[in-house]
């Protein structure tokens, strides 16, 4: 369905582009986006839907929505297509933070502002990028540490608690940044809490469950588990439930529907609310602001608040 919708959009934008060729109206902005891999997970699927809706709602914006299918070569080709089509701005969700830099540079040289969305490209490409719009993963890691520490204080175990840490896929920027934020912040807020082990769960629920099973065998006393996202967090929770270990505080990030439900059941303590809808809207708004000549920070983060069992009523259940 999204495929045909996308094809339709491409076709229609191409057609209007041709119709208005020569007499291009200065009113509408033409914004192209090349996404990482729509359809591979719920986050990206929801992101695309929200992006198209937000663009439709704005009469001044015309979009070309493309998806690289996780393929770097295809993404570079799409960047070149967008440059050829002379769009006013390009939004890119990099398939690879390094490999796309030459294509980004090409767009920059052609005078087209580039906005990076969701995950940033490598630093040597920053000169060619107008703005990065996305979540601040280091802050997310820090906030998760704070959520966990606050809960330990409430329980009165902030001086002896032991924490294990399940990270995302090694080498993945989001995983590295969240882990760093958590590792740095926890000793600041709860200096007597010890992190006794850290292993990757590869963003995978089953893998995370295996890792947690090993932790449970290895350590008799685990008070808290921090996972790089809720999907892995729920895997760890399943392991603890199967082993009959109770009273462990689970904190994650990127609140998924499964995490939200586990919070409703009182089994999972907290997470970071990161909405793909906000992510998509922020990317589009950043592009529009750039084209309107407004001053925007290079790192244009959208807010990702803390969510716990205490305040979850303020948030809608995530759709992914």
């Amino acid at each position: 369905m999204t495929k045909s919708l996308r094809a339709l959009l491409i076709a229609s934008t191409a057609a209007t582009g041709m119709a208005f060729a020569g007499a291009a109206s200065a009113e509408t902005m033409k914004i192209g986006i090349t996404q990482n891999n729509v359809g591979v997970d719920s986050y990206q699927t929801t992101y695309e839907k929200a992006f198209i809706e937000a663009a439709d709602a704005n009469a001044d914006v015309e979009t070309v929505v493309l998806d690289a299918g996780g393929d770097v070569a295809r993404q570079i080709a799409q960047m070149e297509d967008l440059i050829q089509q002379e769009v006013d701005a390009i939004i890119i969700w990099p398939t690879n933070g390094e490999a796309v830099i030459p294509a980004v540079r090409k767009a920059h040289k052609a005078g087209i502002p580039v906005i990076v969305t969701n995950s940033n490209i490598a630093e040597q490409g920053f000169d060619f990028v107008k703005s990065f719009s996305g979540p601040d993963n280091i802050t997310q890691g820090k906030r998760s540490a704070e959520i966990m520490c606050d809960k330990f204080k409430e329980m009165g175990i902030e001086n002896e608690a032991q924490v294990v840490h399940i990270t995302g896929q090694p080498g993945y920027t989001t995983a590295i940044e969240r882990a760093k934020g958590f590792d740095d912040r926890l000793p600041e807020v709860c200096p007597n809490v010890t992190q006794i082990d850290k292993q990757p769960g590869d963003w995978n629920r089953e893998k995370s469950q295996k890792v947690m099973e090993a932790f449970l065998v290895k350590y008799d006393d685990i008070d808290g588990v921090y996972s790089g996202d809720d999907n892995m967090g729920v895997g760890a929770l399943n392991a603890a439930k199967a082993a009959g270990r109770e009273g462990i505080i689970f904190v994650g990030a990127t609140n998924f529907a499964v995490g939200y439900e586990a919070m409703e059941r009182g089994e999972y303590w907290g997470s970071i609310y990161q909405s793909p809808v906000d992510d998509a809207k922020a990317a589009l708004k950043t592009a529009v602001d750039v084209l309107n000549g407004e001053e925007i920070p290079f790192l244009n983060y959208f807010d990702t608040p803390k969510i716990t069992q205490d305040n979850m009523a303020e948030f809608d259940k995530p759709v992914f």
């Binding site: 719920s42 629920r205 890792v211 999907n231 729920v234 399943n238 499964v258 992914f320």
Partner: protein, 343 residues
């Protein structure tokens, strides 16, 4: 009379357990030599136990076997395909498909219908691959590599890219396959053992099993002996699909929710387990029992390294070293020398 023919057949084409009946030292030595992989397994188990005494904790052992069961069931089916001289690289994405489908159908038509529905769909995929490889004689590497991404696409189309979760996780009996115990033994282990026993007997003790070895050992000779090659290959892929469906059932029941990529990369782990067990990629050799050992070695390596607490960058390297060591020990035991006399 029947007894005699059975033995000769086992000697020539079947699993080589013929040393069993002579209980002298030489016989035992020969047996040991043939089971080099068992020696390797024992060595690693002792090594990990020395590194962390909790490794041999019954809960841990049970946990490892339980989580290996999913990979294990898939490896059983792939063993048939590999012995018949073909490959199956599609099992990983097929398992994702099975998991997503059964979870989706669970909420739509109830678990009692969802399970047979899912099996039927996965068997259709297996039959399709079997048709292409068996009857059209297409190269199995290309066919199943293609199916690896085709089925992944199918899964994503089916689910629209969304995670699939059962709505009422507490109130469904569907969780029995993945989460409950019978007589203190987790159901996934029991199912794994059941499928392994049935397929083990099928492979080692029936005419069909002997045909699988014959087709993989020398296809032309098999044809001239009146074996219908295409049918045997087709059936092997059906068996593989059946095993994948069972693995998907275990996976779905264990977590009651799933990502679209749950089985991604498993095809290589499965193949590693089968080859580790001593099956030849060229076909014609391998047994279900050895595949089970291969699966357990992989499972215990993963778990052992976690318990040792090695940095995970190092784990990738160490896993590889252990696999190579195991294969070496197996080969060395078979030829009675650490390295080949012919350079």
């Amino acid at each position: 009379m029947a007894d005699v023919t059975d033995k000769t057949e086992a000697r020539t084409s079947g699993p080589r357990e013929s040393g069993m009946n002579s209980f002298n030292l030489a016989g035992a030595g020969r047996l040991l030599a043939r089971q080099g992989i068992l020696v390797a397994f024992a060595v690693f188990m002792i090594g990990f136990t020395l590194a962390n005494e909790r490794f041999l904790d019954p809960d841990n052992i049970m946990g490892v076997i339980r989580s290996s069961a999913i990979l294990g069931v898939m490896a059983l089916g792939v063993t048939f395909v590999v012995i018949s001289g073909n490959l199956d690289l599609s099992v990983g994405s097929m398992m994702s498909f099975a998991t997503i489908v059964v979870l989706d159908l669970h909420d739509k038509i109830g678990p009692a219908l969802a399970i047979p529905g899912m099996y039927a769909m996965v068997l259709c995929l297996g039959a399709f691959i079997g048709f292409l490889v068996g009857y059209l004689k297409l190269n199995s590497l290309i066919v199943t590599l293609g199916m690896l991404s085709a089925i992944h696409g199918l899964t994503l189309t089916y689910s629209g890219g969304k995670n699939m979760d059962i709505a009422d996780k507490e109130g469904t009996w569907f969780s029995v396959f993945g989460q409950s115990d019978v007589l203190g033994i987790p159901v996934p282990i029991l199912l794994f053992a059941l499928v392994a026993s049935v397929l083990g007997i099928l492979l080692a003790k029936t005419p069909f099993g002997r045909k699988v070895y014959a087709v993989g050992g020398n296809g032309t000779a098999a044809t001239f002996s009146g074996i219908r090659r295409a049918r045997v290959v087709f059936t092997c892929y059906l068996l593989s699909a059946f095993c994948v469906a069972t693995a998907g059932l275990l996976q779905a029941s264990r977590s009651l929710g799933s990502q679209n990529t749950v089985g991604q990369g498993l095809e290589l782990e499965v193949l590693a387990a089968v080859i580790l067990g001593g099956a030849s990629l060229l076909g014609g050799s391998g047994t279900i029992f050895k595949t089970v050992i291969g699966v357990l070695i992989l499972g215990f390596i993963q778990n052992g390294l976690l318990l040792v607490g090695l940095q995970f960058y190092a784990q990738y390297v160490v896993t590889w070293i252990i696999i190579i060591l195991a294969v070496w020990l197996d080969i060395a035991a078979k030829r009675g020398k650490l390295w080949s006399p012919i350079a």
